[in-house]
Structures are given as structure tokens and as C-alpha cells.
Symmetry: C2
Subunit: 333 residues, 2 copies
């Protein structure tokens, strides 16, 4: 297995990226790792970490910044690490690309270079949300702000394939994110998509609400990228707010402080359960190739989890699973 890492993506690249690679290489069944980037930037860091023998350097020239507009980055920075990396995966030289860079650019370039799986109009980005019983896969979380019913149906298929192929679940429950569980609720686009999903061979359980994401009542939650992104960032915001309020309350009296000291290990577990770095690594689904997006602010451990996620996805052959599912499905045209 050969995994290529974008050396220029993320807030702390390339150092954190290379520390993450070290964590992965320390494991027994480590994949072959490569790093794509500018030699003048990457080579010295590889040397400093004594990794020149263990990590292959794939040379690129341009760097896409976080603030670059995706459409411009696609056209004007064809020698960027993301472009070079995506082409290397397309050409079979590497099995997957992992990047903590500009999400929009990563998506647009991957789509342009790798194309989508037959039957899939648009790739989607998915996030695993911690829930009471493991996790709930939410997609799309921001790649597609305007979606047709067919796009939503395709997201349902891809999400279901992911839970089957990657998580090993036989019959994942797929739900449509809506403002109520009744069939009459929601926009026409969502209503039609739900009607059609009910006719497929997916285990479609109907509409679900925002509250259901966390209860373990559903495995895959489908929505457009506008709604998904706002749901995701609202979660991030309120978790930060809750933890901030908790800290404030636990410092409000000597008694509370003593309690907080005793409960510290438990509260640390809570914090980790809410911001699980193992869940870092959002798959870009629907492409003819494996691309995994790491959070831009990921630390070395979290980034290494994104590399692991790429390995798991390559092993599971998600691409073929989605292609098969689309092939065997009669979908509205």
C-alpha cells in the first residue's frame, strides 16, 4: 500500500505532517509513505527527522494557500502539491492522497484530475460524528451547496457503501436530514429524494432530525453541503461553548474546584470523546481514487489517523463498492 501525503497542507505543515508520518511508520504494518511538495521546503525537514530513506519525495512547485479561491487554484496552480498528488493517484503510482490543505481546492482538483465514478455526478465530503453508539456518517459537509434530489440520492448510496465496505456493517441505516420525520416535511428536493431512496435497495429509514445524529438511531445522514456544513460547525461551536461554560462553572467556587480536580480524568475522557482525533480524516467520496482530507489544525496524532483512514479506505476498495452499487441500482434520471 502506497499513501502520498500533501507536504504543504494544514496550519502546521510540513512539520506536523512529517511527525504524523513517523507515527505511522512506527507501526508494524506501515504502508509505504510519500510526500509531495517543494524539495527546498520538504527535503531539509525529512533530513532533520532522518526520514530521507523511508519516505519518497514527489516533487511539486506551487503551493495552494488556504485563502486561494478553489476555481483559481484549479486553473493557475497546476504544479501545486495537490495537482501533482492527484495525478500520481490517478496514474496508479500511489493508492491515496491525504491532505490538510484548502478543502475547496482539494475537491475541485481531485474531481478535475480523477473524475467521478460512473453514476456519481458530484463527489461529497463525509464526516464521522461521535454518537452514543460509535459514530454517524454525515454527508455532504460542504462540497456541494446546491444539490438536486439525484445528488442527495447518490450521497445516500455512497454513505451506505462506506459503512458497508469500511465499517463492515451489513445493512447500514440511511436517513434524510429534515425538519421533521413526516413525509410532508421539508423542501421539494428533499421530499423527492426521500421518496426515491425509499424505492432503492438501501436500508432507508426515512427522514431524521438534527437530534437523531447523536443517538445512534441512524448510520448515514444525507444532506446538501450547505446544511451539512452548518450542522457540523454548529456542533463544533456548541461543544466549544459547553466546554468553556463547564470550565467557568468548575472554577466558580472552592468546592467546585475540588470536585473538578477529582473528576479531572473523567472530564478529560469527555473532552476527547467530543473532539475525537481518531475521527480525523474525511473521505472525499465518489472519485476514481482515494482522497482523504485532514482537519487543517490537526496535530501529528490526528493527522496520522487521517493516513490510517486512507489505508482503510484503500483496503476496503470503496471505489469498487460504490461503482457496483451504482451499477446495480435503478435510479430516477
Amino acid at each position: 500500500m502506497r499513501i502520498l501525503i500533501d507536504g504543504h497542507g494544514g496550519d502546521h505543515a510540513p512539520d506536523v505532517v512529517i511527525e504524523a508520518m513517523k507515527l505511522v511508520l512506527a507501526k508494524a504494518d506501515a504502508p509505504t509513505l510519500g510526500i509531495v511538495g517543494r524539495p527546498d521546503v520538504i527535503q531539509p525537514v525529512l533530513e532533520r527527522h532522518d526520514l530521507t530513506d523511508r519516505v519518497e519525495l514527489v516533487e511539486s512547485e506551487d503551493i495552494i494557500e488556504m485563502c486561494d479561491a478553489p476555481a483559481l487554484a484549479v486553473r493557475r496552480k497546476r504544479k501545486s502539491s495537490i495537482h501533482v498528488g492527484a495525478r500520481a493517484v490517478r496514474d496508479g503510482e500511489w493508492d491515496a492522497l491525504v491532505s490538510a490543505g484548502n478543502t475547496g481546492a482539494l475537491m475541485a482538483i481531485s474531481k478535475l484530475v480523477m473524475k467521478t465514478i460512473p453514476g456519481i455526478d458530484r463527489p461529497a465530503i463525509a464526516a464521522m460524528i461521535p454518537s452514543t453508539h460509535g459514530g454517524t456518517l454525515l454527508l455532504d459537509i460542504g462540497a456541494n451547496v446546491d444539490c438536486s434530489s439525484n445528488h442527495l440520492i447518490q450521497f445516500g448510496v455512497m454513505g451506505s457503501c462506506y459503512r458497508q465496505a469500511v465499517c463492515g456493517e451489513e445493512s447500514p441505516r440511511v436517513g434524510m436530514l429534515n425538519i421533521g420525520t413526516e413525509d410532508i416535511k421539508g423542501t421539494d428536493v428533499v421530499k423527492y429524494a426521500a421518496q426515491q431512496l425509499a424505492k432503492t435497495n438501501l436500508n432507508f429509514i426515512g427522514n431524521v432530525e438534527g437530534t437523531d445524529i447523536f443517538t445512534g438511531a441512524v448510520d448515514v445522514v444525507v444532506c446538501d453541503g450547505f446544511v451539512g456544513n452548518i450542522a457540523l460547525k454548529t456542533m463544533e461551536g456548541i461543544v466549544r461553548h459547553v466546554l468553556g461554560q463547564m470550565k467557568h462553572e468548575l472554577q466558580s467556587s472552592p468546592r467546585a474546584k475540588a470536585g473538578a480536580w477529582l473528576a479531572m480524568p473523567a472530564l478529560k475522557n469527555l473532552k476527547e470523546a467530543l473532539h475525537p482525533s481518531e475521527h480525523n480524516g474525511a473521505p472525499l467520496m465518489g472519485l476514481n481514487g482515494v482522497v482523504v482530507k485532514s482537519h487543517g489544525s490537526a496535530d501529528a496524532y490526528a493527522f496520522s489517523c487521517a493516513i490510517d483512514a486512507a489505508c482503510v479506505e484503500v483496503k476496503a476498495d470503496l471505489k469498487s463498492a460504490i461503482a457496483n452499487a451504482m451499477n446495480n441500482m435503478t435510479l430516477p434520471t
Copy 2:
């Protein structure tokens, strides 16, 4: 001040409703309270609580159930407590209607009976979300699943008026909920609404993200009812999840249990700050009359806060504030 309460709305009506009225009547500057409902159901409860002299009973015949489709409830249950109550407010017999009943029916009937303020196409429901610095007003939270840019602009105006008239803020900051702060982000509807809001005399601060709802960086967050409802329910879901996880972690060892016991008062404050019953009472804005929606599962105290919210809104004369603002504003047609 004369506030009319729907005797049939909510999970625990009419008992909780009447207990809430008792709480309100116990205060020094209590408004005159009325209850609208079926005499055979309401009269015995009023007698039991010894309230027949203090609470006026307005008679209605039908009851709208939580599961009734709003469109049908509007047409077929014209003698319902909500219909009778809305007409009584329209005719000036009462200053406001408070109900914990079917939200869709309450909105549809109020709109049909009271009509909207000139310049407002559609009423919106707003929720006050607890944030680091008090609260953030989010609207719409579910009345309008499909919105045009003009609807969103009107929500911005109404939200700003609410913060001015009801909360006494001079120049409330209005933001557009979007998937990024850059102007290029989001759907065409959202982009155009943001452009136009920037041209008005509102203190429009541009796009805001889901995370910004909780930081106190913005006072009014504008979105369509689909997005707002999903954001709101996602918050509810994750807060419940976090509190559940916290309980679980704090019971995981004797040390954690001891810490939890010491920190109990602080943790109770945290819980109350996250589910503040004082924030119960969502205004239906843009109507020619004051209508406040209580959470269906509100207890007596929370329901009494919804009655208080109605009093505050009547006193603030929000309706005139919105009418004036719309009158003084040049909006795209």
C-alpha cells in the same frame, strides 16, 4: 395588558398551562390572563386551582392535535382554541396569544387570521440561543423551508427590530448564516441577500458560520427555516449527548463520583445555562399581532417565561417597530 393562553397546547396541557398562569399571577405587576379552550376540559381545572375569578375563560370547541397537518387544521378546525385565540388578538380583545401547541398550525392560522405587517411576506419564528455573552437570536427556525433573498432580508430587519425594541440594543449586529465568511461562499439566494443587507441601514456584519452563534460575535443570525431548524435541533441533540456522556464519565470511577458530588452545584448551573427555561417563548415575528410559541414539553416555570416574553413583546410594541423599519427601508423588489 391582556394575555390569552391556549389551554390545549403542549404535552401537559391544560395542567401545566394553568400552573404557569398561577406563577405569573403571583407577581406584582401581573397582566390580566385569559385561557382559550373547551369549557368541559378547562373549567374543572380552573376550579380545582381556585382560579375561576382571576382567569377569564374564552370558549372554543375544537382541539388541534400535535399530529394534525397544519394546512388541514387551518381549514377544518376553525373553532379550535388557536383559531379563536388568534381572532381575539386580531380584534383587539387580547394583546397576545401564547401557545405550546402545533407550531405549523399556530403559524398558519396566525398568518391567515392576523395577516402580516406591510412589507413582510412571511412571518418567521425566532429562537434565542445561549451564547458566551447572553444570547444570539436565530431566525427563521422552521416556519419557512424555502426562502427567497427578500425573505431573508426581511428576517434580518425583524431580528434587528427585536433586539432593539425588546432587548434595548442600539445597533444589533446582524449576520447571514453561511458556510464561510467570504462573499463568494454559499448559495445564490444567500449571496444576494447578504449583498442587499449590506446596503441597508442595518448593522450587517456579513456572513457568519455555525461556530459564531455561540461566541457573542453576532446578535441576530439570519437563515432559512430549513437550515435554522436543523441547526437548532443539532444543538439540542449534541447538548443532550454531551450531558449524557458527562454523566457516564462522572460515574465511571469512585474518584470521578466523588468529584461529581462536589461539583454538583456547578454542574447543575451548567445544565441550566445550556437548557435555559427563561429562553422559552419563541416569538412569531412579522404578524399584525403578538403570538408566542412555547416549547411543547415546557414545565410550568418555562411556560410562565413564555407568558413573560409575550408581555415584554407587547410592551416593546415590536409590531410598530417592524412596520416603521420596513417603511423606512429601500429594499430590492
